[in-house]
């Protein structure tokens, strides 16, 4: 975790006036600040899986290809790194609900307005859900797993999951479907540093120019198309190729 190193550095460089007994960070007399230091996100690079098995990754590829398809409007989630995005998210703190309150008891019948009340993590949900999805397809669709189905068949299965008409392992799978859809959209619209939205395909689809960080000219020119291409936290591919 980058924060730990950084905090250590800060406390070493800050002027410490007091409280040697305390292990807390103590700041007095100056702003604790180190030049040329930021707290960067981990940059995701494709290659290998941190969480998925190859079979699971194939299933996620197939699901993403239907949820946000590649079509005449441009590339979709599968073809822009969506599976890599989800894999890396599941391998990180998100996948284990590391930041969430996960102490029991977990009640059997929470009210819907009380939100998340299950000990099942996203990692568990994918591992169990993908296995059960292939089992369902295999049992009901001539021994084929989800990835082997045709697009129309895949859409029927996904629709069945979304409407709660198809159960997985005998249980309602709408929560699993909703997580798939949420993660698909996250990857498609997040900054490309997280692994999805390669080529800023999601941003180009809608006309989001990314992190240019200065849009005063847009306010000054109302109701006009914005024509500059999008920029991510790592710039644009064209900048690299021009070097």
């Amino acid at each position: 975790m980058t924060g730990t190193t950084r905090r250590g550095l800060l406390s070493a460089t800050a002027i410490i006036a007091f409280a040697e007994a305390a292990s807390a960070k103590t700041y007095t007399g100056t702003m604790p600040w180190s030049p040329n230091y930021a707290d960067p996100a981990q940059i995701v690079t494709p290659g290998g899986w941190k969480f998925f098995t190859d079979v699971e990754a194939q299933a996620v590829d197939a699901i993403l290809a239907r949820l946000i398809p590649t079509d005449q409007l441009g590339l979709g989630a599968k073809d822009t790194g969506g599976t890599v995005f989800i894999d890396r998210q599941l391998a990180g703190p998100y996948g284990g609900h590391d930041w969430l309150y996960m102490q029991g008891p977990f009640p059997a019948n929470p009210l819907p307005q009380q939100g998340l009340q299950s000990p099942v993590t996203p990692r568990d949900q994918y591992r169990q859900g993908l296995k059960a999805l292939d089992a369902y397809c295999s049992a009901n669709l001539a021994g084929r797993n989800f990835a082997a189905l045709g697009p129309d068949e895949q859409d029927l299965v996904l629709t069945g999951l979304q409407k709660g008409e198809i159960k997985l392992d005998g249980r309602d799978a709408r929560g699993f479907f909703n997580r798939l859809l949420t993660n698909a959209q996250e990857g498609f619209f997040a900054d490309p540093i997280h692994g999805g939205n390669q080529g800023m395909a999601g941003w180009k689809l809608v006309g989001f120019p990314g992190v240019r960080y200065d849009y005063r000219d847009v306010i000054a020119n109302p109701n006009k198309p914005y024509t500059l291409p999008p920029v991510s936290l790592q710039g644009r591919a064209e900048w690299e190729s021009g070097r």
């Binding site: 969430l100 009210l111 992190v211 109701n223």
Partner: protein, 588 residues
């Protein structure tokens, strides 16, 4: 084993907006001041660096700068008949964390409450009679007036450099400003922000409907500004990464941009981070605070003795600390007795989204508070008699961003995936806008805070339990405002208008607002308030409690302007009166 540290004059719990203001004012008055903050240090150049800050997934979706629920959360239920369960993942509101607190991730909408808001109960009874007030309400006057707070609103606004246009200068109405606002002593520190395209349509539509649009007061600044402490801010670049983000651009007023650079130069001030205060320590008779007890990141316990204890955490956590420390009598909704936890309130809403043909709103070009507002339906600015509810809302057109993970509007009936979804997202992203009402929530007998009987934090202390639901009064208000918003959106020329009002029970999942108020309210009567009019505990006179926890009910605006004004009002009383003669500033 608890290590007892050397005494300080003042210990402050929480180094956000109110803690940093208290700290600099009291350090400059010559007192030794220590602020104890449970989160990490945060600084613009490092934590909100321009090369890392505008990351929607990391900050807005995964909520990296917020308090982690694993460290502390609340349990929630709608009423006494339900069993409260933990909010395991933030949704409805997002508490801040670390130095700067919620002052880092706010949108910067910086309001003054209306003069009548501070005497709301008196006003409503005068105009409509006691019977008009909603069932089981506990609406009460604040114990402080707008005129008393005005100099301190001014002080906070000049700290922040707020951009706006006065509507009332010393009683003279000013064209272009809000004609309903209370009198101001002088113009805003910086000029109003320019209008977006959507705002120009809103201004015309509301004016045609007979309303009075004006620029929303903004802590994302229109121009460079040097504040009262010598701290410098830069003009806002409309990057669209305000709420849920720290500002990389030094353009959003925050403790980081407005207070800390000056505060850290005060030699008698010290900040201790990553230390969680577990309780206020009291003398055996419970009438005097001796300091605070805290646990550092290694789990070691310390006692920090101090003459004056200031609870400056996020309002909800101030209330919890009072309950955990045994300061004041916990509120019991069955008997109506006790005060700590009483009158928890929130914010109501109603809105309309408009889908347009041939419009380029370019909503990605935005700041958290660039907007145009009309206050005609706020407070008691309109006659409530025909409508059967009390309270009001500011109605605003102002997209704070168009970050595409959380914002990709589609008209009702659009499939949620597949090529048709893609097409709809593409068609509507740049050509959709909306307007929304931010409304009051009155205080009620059954909406309150107490300690949960079951769930604990990692230190083994009970979580706080929130019992809250929107009542009929707020549901009527919401429906009324949604209808008004819908009318405005039609007048703006939308092809299709979708209105939203409160429906169903209060739900912890969808984001609503981080405007949690009450629980440690101020007032004139110790039977119905935790604090006197100077934010001083009625029960332990060397404890003061800042924050929106002091609001006796919530009104139709964002709270921070009033939180800042109350802080300056309280610190003035501490400096001018309390330090000369410590003890209760108001006799009981």
């Amino acid at each position: 084993m608890t290590t007892r540290l050397p005494r300080k004059d003042v210990v402050i719990v929480g180094l956000g907006w109110t803690g940093s203001i208290m700290a600099i004012e009291l350090a400059r008055a010559g007192l030794s001041v220590v602020a104890i903050e449970r989160g990490p240090w945060r600084d613009t150049a490092t934590d909100f660096n321009i090369g890392t800050a505008p990351d929607e997934l990391r900050y807005a979706v995964r909520q990296e700068i917020f308090l982690k629920p694993r460290q502390e959360t609340l349990t929630a239920r709608n009423n006494l008949t339900q069993t409260a369960l933990p909010i395991r993942q933030w949704g409805s509101f997002l508490p801040g964390h670390g130095v700067g607190g919620a002052g880092n991730h706010w949108n910067g909408q910086t309001w003054r409450f209306l003069p009548d808001d501070f005497r709301i109960r008196s006003r409503l009874v005068e105009r409509y009679g006691e019977k008009f007030l909603p069932a089981d309400h506990q609406i009460q006057d604040w114990g402080v007036s707008y005129d008393e707070l005005e100099p301190y609103y001014d002080q906070f606004e000049y700290l922040c450099g707020i951009s706006g246009k006065a509507g009332n200068l010393r009683g003279q109405l000013q064209p272009g400003g809000n004609p309903f606002e209370g009198p101001r002593r002088r113009e805003f520190p910086t000029p109003a922000l320019p209008q977006t395209y959507a705002e120009t349509l809103f201004s015309k539509a509301t004016s045609d409907l007979g309303l009075h649009p004006f620029p929303r007061p903004s802590a994302t600044l229109s121009t460079g500004y040097t504040n009262t402490y010598g701290c410098q801010l830069a003009p806002c670049t409309m990057c669209g990464f305000c709420e849920r983000f720290g500002c990389a651009n030094y353009s959003k007023s925050s403790p980081q941009t407005c207070v800390l650079p000056a505060l850290m130069r005060e030699p008698n001030f010290e900040a201790r981070t990553e230390c969680e205060v577990t309780r206020v320590s009291l003398t055996p008779d419970g009438k005097h605070a001796t300091g605070v007890v805290y646990i550092d990141a290694k789990g070691q316990e310390f006692e920090q003795p101090a003459d004056l204890v200031l609870l400056c955490a996020y309002g909800l956590f101030n209330v919890r600390l009072l309950l955990l420390s045994g300061i004041g009598k916990p509120y019991d909704p069955k008997t109506g007795e006790g005060t700590v936890g009483r009158n928890y309130a929130y914010q109501s809403s109603g809105s309309a989204q408009g889908f347009f043909d041939n419009a380029r709103f370019n909503p990605f070009a935005a700041s958290g508070s660039i907007a145009t507002t009309a206050d005609d339906y706020n407070g008691d600015n309109f006659d409530h008699a025909p409508h059967g509810f009390v309270g009001g809302a500011s109605i605003t057109c102002g997209a704070s961003n168009a970050r595409p993970i959380l914002y990709h509007p589609t008209p009702p009936g659009t499939p949620t995936w597949g090529s048709k979804w893609k097409q709809a997202v593409q068609d509507n992203f740049l050509s959709t806008t909306g307007c929304g009402a931010q409304g009051s929530v009155m205080s009620y007998r059954g909406n309150y805070l107490d300690l949960d009987p079951t769930y604990k934090d990692p230190l083994g202390r009970p979580l706080m339990r929130m019992t809250f639901d929107y009542q009929d009064n707020e549901r009527k208000l919401s429906a009324f405002m949604a209808e008004r918003c819908g009318g405005i959106m039609k007048a703006m020329g939308a092809r299709q208008v979708v209105t939203n009002k409160i429906s169903g029970p209060w739900n912890v999942v969808p984001y609503q607002t981080t405007h949690n108020t009450g629980g440690a309210v101020m007032g004139a009567d110790p039977k119905t308030s935790v604090l006197n009019r100077y934010l001083q505990s009625w029960d332990v006179s060397n404890v003061f409690v800042t924050g929106a926890s002091a609001f006796p009910q919530n009104h139709g605006y964002n709270p921070t302007g009033t939180v800042g004004a109350l802080t300056y009002w309280a610190v003035a009383a501490i400096k001018e009166r309390y330090l000369k003669s410590p003890g209760a500033l108001v006799p009981t």
